[in-house]
């Protein structure tokens, strides 16, 4: 087992038995389900809307080179500097060098999962820069030194009490009782940071090729402030975020809000097409867009799973996943949690180290059913399992199945062995799941049905004998 797999099973086991954690997640998601369903009901046809959204992303992903070039040219036309980064290190180096070149000391950052993926904040801090997360949830987990718990709700695993304790310890703030008071503490801290920062960093939800715009979806206003107050702005964009037309956003923005948070539209949906233009009085004087590959092209090269690049990071598949709800976001040990994380992480970070995530699924298909861009998630989990085994077969599987086949082809042996199993059943039942149970790997978490007193063959014989 890989070290990632050992960590995963240890943490998953711990959190599955943590009833306090489970209650917190159930409560948070309960509210989400209600709001999401209310919103979905307003759609003329949610299923056709899904197909439309998927069609837009399919078009983009399957002509990725064309649309990226168009995006890059359109951005450059308004004075944006576009940088293409093959991997995380290249992106982080570039952003650090931009910061150094401008003499930057303090950075205000809005939410970016792509930034998390390449450990951008850590890389910049190592270069001696102060990086402050401005999204409230991200700010809280940053203060605690934790990774985000969920793609969309980074701090959903924390209670107000824990957040209050964190604020008191890290910010020296007074005790606060309510989410409102806690939010205002963060707001006041952040106001200072926006005005002091000499560089802003943001992520992107979409990038429109047709017009050369980065689209940023948020609720708090932190992304708007981070992208308009500092003189220098860098936006990091995964190459799969591109969409062909501006009109595609007419569907994707409401669907992202509905699937992600049960909203009609999120509070701010901002299109950034360049730095401060002639006639504008504010906005960044310099705007860099970093287009990041970081093995997305490896996923693109797998036509079977290419649709995983349709993902708009709404987090809906996490919210409905029975595995996520039990083991929580941190157990995955990945940037992207839940079903989508289990599907793409093996492509981004290595199949053998991360295949265990694809095995940790009930294959119920709730993820694929809820996905607003129709990613075939649960089948991709199965494909990852298949690919992992094909790439690195388990040595004992073949002999076991060969032995089973040999046994099953011998009726005499079967007739002899079946009653033996029936005799052994009470013993197996008594030791079920304990260390001495030879089947404990299976029975530890599963029931062992008591075999019937008769086989079908015996029953049939007796029945005919009675006649």
């Amino acid at each position: 087992m890989s070290t990632e797999s050992v960590q995963f099973h240890r943490d998953a086991d711990r959190l599955t038995h943590d009833l306090r954690h489970r209650a917190l997640i159930q409560k948070a998601l309960g509210g989400y389900y209600i709001k999401r369903d209310e919103q979905k009901k307003k759609y003329t046809d949610w299923q056709q809307a899904r197909a439309s959204a998927a069609a837009a992303k399919y078009e983009a992903v399957n002509h990725l080179d064309t649309y990226l070039i168009e995006l890059s040219d359109k951005l450059a036309a308004r004075g944006t500097k576009v940088f293409w980064a093959a991997d995380g290190a290249e992106a982080a180096d570039y952003i650090a060098s931009v910061a150094r070149g401008a003499g930057v000391k303090r950075i205000i950052k809005s939410k970016s999962m792509t930034g998390e993926e390449i450990h951008l904040p850590q890389a910049l801090e190592k270069a001696g820069l102060e990086v402050v997360e401005s999204d409230l949830g991200e700010f809280i987990v940053q203060l605690r030194g934790e990774p985000p718990y969920h793609i969309v709700f980074p701090s959903m695993h924390l209670t107000r009490g824990e957040i209050d304790a964190t604020f008191q310890k890290k910010l020296g703030s007074a005790h606060a009782d309510t989410p409102e008071e806690l939010t205002m503490i963060a707001r006041n801290v952040m106001r200072q940071k926006y005005c002091e920062a000499d560089m802003g960093i943001s992520g992107a939800n979409f990038a429109v090729a047709e017009t050369g715009h980065i689209s940023i979806t948020e609720n708090e206003g932190n992304a708007r402030l981070s992208t308009s107050l500092p003189d220098l702005l860098v936006t990091i964009v995964g190459i799969e975020k591109v969409v062909p037309k501006l009109d595609d956003l007419a569907v994707l923005l409401p669907m992202l809000a509905t699937a992600g948070a049960g909203q009609n539209m999120t509070c701010y949906n901002t299109l950034l097409g360049g730095p401060r233009q002639p006639g504008e009085t504010d906005g960044p004087r310099e705007f860099h867009v970093v287009l990041l590959d970081n093995r997305r092209t490896a996923l693109l090269a797998d036509p079977e799973q290419r649709d995983a690049l349709h993902c708009i990071r709404c987090g809906a598949c996490l919210n409905v996943c029975p595995i996520f709800k039990n083991i929580g976001g941190h157990s995955y040990g990945t940037t992207y949690q839940g079903p989508i994380g289990s599907v793409i992480t093996p492509h981004l970070r290595g199949l053998q180290s991360w295949k265990h995530l694809s095995f940790s699924s009930s294959l119920c298909g709730a993820c694929a059913e809820t996905c607003p861009v129709k990613i075939d998630l649960h089948h991709h989990l199965l494909q990852n399992r298949r690919n992992a085994i094909e790439q690195k077969p388990v040595w004992w599987e073949k002999p076991i199945f060969a032995g089973f086949a040999w046994f099953m082809r011998r009726p005499g042996l079967y007739r002899f062995a079946a009653p033996m199993l029936r005799l052994a059943a009470p013993v197996l039942h008594a030791i079920r799941g304990q260390d001495i149970d030879p089947l404990s790997l299976w029975t530890r978490t599963r029931d062992l049905p008591v075999p019937p007193s008769q086989s079908f063959k015996e029953y049939w014989r007796d029945r005919n004998a009675k006649r």
């Binding site: 080179d65 293409w84 009085t281």
Partner: protein, 226 residues
Amino acid sequence: MPNDSRELILRRIRKALAVTAPARHLVGAVTGPSGHPPQDWLPPVPASEAERIALFEKNSLDLKTEVRRCSDAAAAASELAALARENNWKSIGSHRFALGNEAVSALGLPVVFTDQPYETASLERCDAAVSGCDCLVAQTGGIMVTSASAGGRVLSVLAPHHVVVASTSQLLGDLADAFAVLRKHHGSPPAFVSFITGPSRTGDIERILVLGAHGPKKLTVLLVQA
């Protein structure tokens, strides 16, 4: 500066796309070049102006945006004055726009104008921001702003209270209509466009809604009959 990997990435993409991916998601879909435009599947938008106003008001209520109907520009000016009194404004940020000019100057308050060079710190101290917009979107309860229509990129998000003065003729159906207006007003969409859909909010602490996370805690639309 490190070297750009543009050609490497494009090469990787083209190699990957040599094999076509199945389009499973299109099975059963009636969207496409010959089918319905995608926005047909979104929440429906009524055709008449009165119904659209009603839908905008209903969405605004859900979003906790306050909508005040005004019969004309003079009524909007007195509503703005009422807001200034109710909320005890000492200074405001604004910009020059046809629907708001008279109402703003009638307040008699110090104004930081953001359509001319201004200091962020003095805007940050303002109690409210009064701005125009490009259009309102009935389907979402949204307000589309650009630098030209709303006094720059910052005005509409920095103050604790944002007041938008708009006319009923600016109310459109959905986002696709709003994008059409962008093209009409600006040729191609400008470098800054934002859809504001309710006052700033967060649910990051126990998923409990709190308004005014970073941006305005209050959002008021003065909707002038036109």
